[in-house]
């Protein structure tokens, strides 16, 4: 009778789970960092700068979010192949980061709207460039928003399956969702789900997310509550 321990060890020996976890952490973590940087800049300009087509662009950004992933699957495959992004970490990270951008930019813009302008104005007068004032004064004050953006973007990349299937077919790059998929075994004409392996993988899969949540939970809760009541 297979024991839980022996089953769990099998995910490492037979399915290279360690590599899958490492890949997932790398991709989700990098996506998070890239998204935070991009969203801070984009959200800030949407919040502060004033130009004629600003509201059109804001709505366009929001509208892009409604596009379901399954509809964009094929075009993204074509784009990734044309740009040589298939089977590369860069491809995975860039595309995941891009998928999340519309919603996260709009979210961050709202957080920035709640940071009063006189703070960055004071920083300008104190001798800072616009970028330094953003980083040293505005972002710390909006850190709850950053926490929410970081958490959401990590989570989205962590759970993403569809894009993984489209973008990679190399065993070196597989992430945990793909490792789950591989536990399906065809035996004698039947497709069998090996629940023991799935359970073991599931437990380990949930751990980094829990860790991240423990670290950022205060920021995230404050951020999510603040956006409903107004800072």
């Amino acid at each position: 009778m297979p024991t839980p321990w022996r089953t769990s060890v099998r995910i490492f020996t037979e399915h290279d789970f360690a590599r899958a976890m490492a890949n997932s952490v790398l991709v989700a973590g990098s996506t998070m960092v890239l998204d935070v940087v991009a969203v801070s800049l984009a959200g800030y300009s949407l919040s502060r700068l004033d130009w004629r087509f600003k509201s059109s662009i804001t709505y366009a950004v929001l509208l892009l979010q409604t596009m379901p992933l399954s509809a964009t699957m094929v075009p993204i495959y074509g784009l990734a192949r044309a740009l040589g992004l298939r089977n590369s970490y860069a491809g995975l990270i860039l595309i995941h980061a891009a998928i999340e951008l519309p919603f996260l930019i709009w979210l961050m813009k709202n957080f920035f709207d709640n940071v009063p302008r006189y703070l960055e104005e004071a920083a300008w007068l104190d001798g800072r460039s616009k970028l330094r004032a953003l980083v040293e004064v505005v972002l710390p004050v909006a850190r709850n928003g950053i926490g929410v953006v970081a958490g959401l973007s990590f989570l989205a990349a962590w759970a993403e399956v569809l894009m993984m299937i489209i973008l990679i077919d190399s065993q070196d790059l597989k992430t945990v969702p793909l490792a789950f998929y591989e536990t399906l075994r065809t035996q004698g004409g039947y497709v069998e789900v090996q629940y023991g392996l799935v359970a073991a993988m599931g437990v380990l899969y949930a751990l980094p997310v829990m860790a991240l949540f423990l670290v950022t939970r205060r920021m995230m809760v404050r951020g999510l509550v603040a956006s409903s009541r107004g800072l």
Binding site: P116, L119, A122, L125, D126, R128
Partner: protein
């Protein structure tokens, strides 16, 4: 160490009908304490922000020490602004807030801290240095904002209604402190307020603005005694100047109610004039006297050191300042006399002063 000039500065915000600032020209001397005063929406804050570089003028030029600054970024202008909301960085301690402007300079940490402590001593906030802005009272926050401005040793201090959020007692106390501090530091200061009393007590000179236009620029005395138009006459002074319709009859001015007052020399205009008399320019007597105009008392307001007597003259309601013992009851007949040097004459249509 700086002279500031506004040269025909105009700005209009796209969402508004009229100009926020309309051809404003000011010349501010080095070391002067100039107050920009006027009702809400008169353009005083916009004018200040244009000097700071936070707004950009549509037309005109702004110069510091003879050099135009409108193409400079706020960080390159060497001006410090104390915001009405204080704008303290909430995520930093008071010490770090005050240090912040010094961090762009090549100073060692020790030099920075010593400057911070110097300024903190000057404003009496040394004990607040380790705290966060959220832990301070309004008055304390204001001092920190001031400290942050002073530590930079800028060419010009700008202050946007810094006392408006303080309670009345603290406000009057801080007024004198600020003025004394400015004299000690000798830095050119432009101070914005909507409170005319504040303007009168603090300014070396006052610039009165209304609807974006400069109404009068002068010392508190000249603005008070010789207002350039009806707006200034009624805005400056509390209680406000009495304004009465009048017409001319030879060498005299006839006010509503039949009061004859000797016309000041050199005043043209016959019809369509208004006469202004400050409450202290009207003498009030209990007994009839020749040349004194009878009027009926509506109510007396004792203020401790003086009394404001409200009297009815024809259709007009006048306020008269009297000594603390003069408190006529409502309905009493009193007799008014105008001090000749207190008679101001204005054109009813344009509002401009005629004498």
């Amino acid at each position: 160490m700086a002279r500031v000039e506004y040269a025909e500065v105009s700005k209009r915000f796209p969402t508004q009908d009229r100009a926020a600032v309309d051809h404003l020209s000011l010349d501010i001397a080095d070391g002067e304490f100039l107050v920009l005063v006027g009702p809400s929406g008169c353009g005083k804050t916009t004018a200040l922000r244009m000097l700071a570089g936070l707004e950009y003028p549509d037309r005109g030029d702004i110069l510091i020490d003879g050099r135009s600054v409108i193409r400079l970024e706020p960080k390159d202008r060497d001006v410090a602004l104390v915001f009405q909301s204080y704008a303290l960085y909430p995520h930093m301690s008071v010490r770090d807030n005050i240090q912040y402007p010094l961090r762009v300079r090549q100073l060692s940490a020790a030099e920075r801290l010593s400057k911070v402590e110097q300024v903190a001593d000057l404003l009496g906030i040394r004990h607040l240095l380790p705290r966060r802005p959220a832990q301070l009272s309004g008055g304390e926050q204001q001092r920190v904002a001031l400290a942050r401005a002073i530590v930079r040793e800028p060419r010009v201090f700008l202050m946007d209604e810094p006392l408006s959020n303080l309670d009345a007692k603290l406000r009057t106390h801080t007024r004198t402190e600020l003025k004394a501090l400015q004299k000690e530091l000798g830095v050119t200061t432009i101070f914005v307020t909507h409170d005319q009393a504040e303007a009168m007590t603090m300014g070396d000179r006052i610039a009165v603005l209304d609807a974006g236009k400069l109404q009068q620029l002068g010392t508190p005395d000249s603005v008070y005694q010789r207002p350039a138009n009806l707006f200034v006459a009624q805005f400056i002074g509390s209680p406000p100047m009495n304004i009465i319709d009048a017409s001319r009859d030879g060498p005299a001015l006839v006010l509503t109610g039949g009061w004859r007052v000797e016309a000041p020399r050199g005043v043209a205009g016959s019809d369509g004039i208004k006469v202004g008399l400050r409450p202290e320019a009207i003498e009030l007597e209990r007994a009839p006297a020749s040349g004194a105009q009878p009027a009926e008392v509506l109510v007396s307001e004792p203020l401790g050191s003086e009394v404001i007597v409200n009297v009815k003259l024809g259709q007009a309601l006048l306020k008269v300042r009297t000594g603390p013992d003069v408190r006529p009851d409502p309905g009493t007949r009193v007799f008014l006399r105008a001090r000749p040097d207190g008679v101001r004459v204005f054109d009813a249509l344009s509002g401009a002063a005629l004498n």
